[in-house]
């Protein structure tokens, strides 16, 4: 299988080769856009098109010092946020499956400073609502860390913030989520 860098080089020489990139990243980006709160299917399709067109136009701006996926996620993040701004709406209901919620809790429980969550860990709907209620900057970073399972370096590259700030925002986001969980009867052990 060709590496991302090889695909980029190929797409710069041949437009048709760009389809490979689209096919490789459509599913993860679609999931990410929806997790950011783009609930409408048509909006998701539109924003995905805009993301990939922007990626194609800016292929020469890709910095090989960062992961190609981080660069794509950055563009996806910016395009999705700008869609929310254009429509003057808050991110909608998060699309969070039961597996998402389970994975999210498992990731949180793995964090040393976050206590394991009890029997209601499969309550996807309530978790989804609590996440949606978080301030966007905390929600975005928790989604990247615990649903997209990105490293601190990748999150730093995606959101264009220093790694120290990533750590701070994750810690604060977790604290707020913990408080919200407790307030909603989802008690940690």
């Amino acid at each position: 299988m060709e590496t991302d860098q090889e695909l980029v080089a190929a797409a710069l020489g041949d437009k048709q080769a760009f389809s490979e990139i689209v096919q490789r990243y459509e599913a993860p980006l679609r999931r990410y856009v929806r997790r950011l709160g783009c609930a409408d299917e048509n909006d998701t399709d539109d924003v995905l098109q805009e993301i990939f067109i922007k990626v194609f136009k800016n292929l020469n701006d890709y910095d090989p010092d960062m992961k190609f996926s981080s660069w794509l996620y950055r563009i996806a993040h910016n395009e999705t946020i700008s869609l929310f701004r254009k429509k003057s709406v808050r991110p909608g209901v998060l699309t969070l499956s039961a597996e998402d919620a389970e994975g999210f809790f498992a990731q949180l429980a793995d964090e040393q400073d976050f206590v394991e969550l009890a029997h209601e860990r499969d309550d996807a709907r309530r978790l989804r609502d609590l996440l949606a209620d978080l301030e966007p900057r905390y929600r975005e970073i928790l989604v990247l860390r615990f649903l997209e399972e990105k490293s601190y370096t990748e999150i730093s590259d995606i959101l264009k913030i220093p790694q120290g700030t990533v750590a701070t925002l994750i810690a604060r986001g977790k604290q707020r989520l913990r408080t919200a969980l407790e307030a909603n009867g989802m008690h940690p052990l």
Partner: protein
């Protein structure tokens, strides 16, 4: 679904004849932010250099040691140049953030580094005389003149006991005349209460502390120092 989206995108790329933007445009953009960063450090350094010169100038002329109240003390701080430095640091921070990997650095790292570089280069620039030349260059600008402390004007205030100027010839053992920086001639008498004072050499530039006696229209000098040339 995959093929459908990639197909749609290919169709749009072909229909709108979309091509990747040339690499030089991105290089130019990044380069302009680096240029802006460099420029902000250069101007910040000049601001620091001029600030250092003004501090040294006021110290040289004995003003830091004898400020006339808090207001004068504060007015000796060159806020104009400190403001320029702050603006340059802010501009530098903004432009470095727009370079490829500038976002990886904490705000405090960028600000500290920017100030540190401005202080290092500013000290070097002051050493080479840029601080004085910059001050001289802007001295003609009315706003600048009113916003910066003028040590010549500060020594042209007999009313609060300060007088400076060039000593005129033909004085006596205890009296002489000076022409101040504004061209006005003053009669000066050495204070009898201070020992060791003598009439300075004619044509020398001096600064004197003392008091003005309105009855006789004479400035009574209690201390006399050579006016040190601006370096």
């Amino acid at each position: 679904m995959n093929e459908q989206l990639s197909h749609k995108i290919q169709k749009r790329i072909n229909a709108d004849d979309i091509t990747p933007l040339p690499r030089w445009r991105f290089l130019l953009l990044r380069g302009s932010f680096w240029l802006l960063t460099g420029l902000s450090i250069l101007v910040g350094s000049i601001a620091v250099g001029t600030t250092l010169f003004l501090f040294a100038d006021d110290r040289r002329h004995g003003l830091w040691a004898t400020p006339h109240g808090v207001a004068e003390f504060l007015s000796m701080i060159p806020f104009v140049w400190l403001l320029v430095l702050v603006l340059c640091v802010a501009l530098g921070e903004m432009s470095i953030r727009h370079t490829r990997q500038g976002y990886r650095y904490q705000l405090r790292t960028i600000v500290s580094l920017s100030i540190l570089l401005s202080v290092i280069f500013g000290s070097l620039l002051n050493y080479t005389g840029i601080g004085r030349r910059t001050h001289e260059l802007f001295r003609g600008v009315p706003f600048y003149r009113s916003a910066t402390y003028d040590s010549r004007a500060a020594w042209n205030r007999p009313g609060i006991g300060r007088l400076a100027g060039v000593v005129l010839p033909a004085g006596s053992d205890a009296t002489f005349s000076v022409i101040d920086f504004g061209g006005r001639v003053w009669k000066v008498r050495l204070a009898t209460s201070t020992s060791g004072l003598s009439v300075p050499e004619a044509s020398s530039t001096v600064r004197m502390s003392g008091m003005f006696d309105p009855a006789s229209g004479t400035f009574i000098a209690r201390s006399i120092h050579v006016w040190e040339r601006e370096q």
